[in-house]
């Protein structure tokens, strides 16, 4: 997890394009400037970043399912629940599944578990558009490749 670059996903554990689901892993860093303020003497992973982690997991699923031709952008968060504190060093397992594919938008459900215990969950809505430029698309493909998105899912370049 590279908080300073807003890259929250470390590794894709599994991707099922047919079933429109993904499982990823992310480890909260032990140190970060974020923890200096959130909170002094009681470092906690902010809930908004846990939501962002679920959004990024969903996002890679959607990018792959759209063959790296379109970029999803988070548009709505519903029923988000942060069920317990998440501390530095926590190993997150994030699962996401597409629940609806509309015209120019998609919806997912996602959840984070730590050591098998459900810690967070939310329903997410994304609007998606063609990548605005090749640089952006290549960047996302590079990130996807680094975290282990299967080559067959459109990360060849």
């Amino acid at each position: 997890m590279h908080l300073e670059y807003f890259q929250l996903i470390d590794r894709i554990a599994s991707l099922d394009l047919e079933g429109r689901s993904i499982k990823v892993e992310a480890e909260v860093p032990l140190t970060s400037t974020i923890f200096e303020g959130h909170f002094p003497g009681r470092p906690l992973m902010p809930g908004v970043l846990l939501i962002e982690a679920m959004a990024q997991a969903s996002g890679f699923l959607l990018i792959a399912s759209m063959n790296f031709e379109r970029m999803p952008f988070l548009a709505a968060v519903k029923d988000a629940k942060m069920r317990s504190f998440v501390q530095p060093g926590a190993k997150l397992e994030i699962a996401a599944k597409v629940t609806h594919e509309g015209s120019g938008f998609a919806m997912t459900i996602a959840e984070i578990t730590i050591a098998g215990k459900k810690t967070c969950n939310a329903s997410l809505t994304f609007s998606h558009v063609p990548f605005p430029n090749e640089e952006f698309r290549r960047h996302m493909a590079t990130v996807a490749k680094r975290i282990g998105l299967p080559q067959s899912a459109g990360t060849q370049d």
Partner: protein, 92 residues
């Protein structure tokens, strides 16, 4: 229940708009104040209810290109007619 009534019920429930203020002449954007994000929830509910996929991107493109007006797609009587066409095309 007519297509319009189903659409009106979806809009009333999704956007918390009094059902009796929604008519076939209502423009979803201009009269009911529904924005594009709220319309995604409506599109989702319509897709599910009718087993179709509202071609929002195509419609938006046509409006942006000047090939169609928003009234053709977002006045609810017209939207209901478009839904009926999509349902008919799917079952054809």
């Amino acid at each position: 229940m007519s297509t319009f009534d189903q659409v009106a019920n979806i809009i009333a429930e999704t956007c918390d708009i009094p059902r009796d203020t929604i008519t076939p002449q209502s423009h979803a954007i201009d009269d009911l104040g529904i924005d594009s994000l709220d319309f995604l929830d409506i599109a989702f509910a319509i897709d599910k209810a009718f087993g179709i996929k509202l071609p929002l991107e195509k419609w938006t493109q046509e409006v942006n290109d000047g090939k169609a007006t928003t009234e053709q797609y977002f006045v609810l009587g017209n939207l209901s007619a478009r839904i009926d066409e999509l349902v008919a095309a799917k079952s054809a």
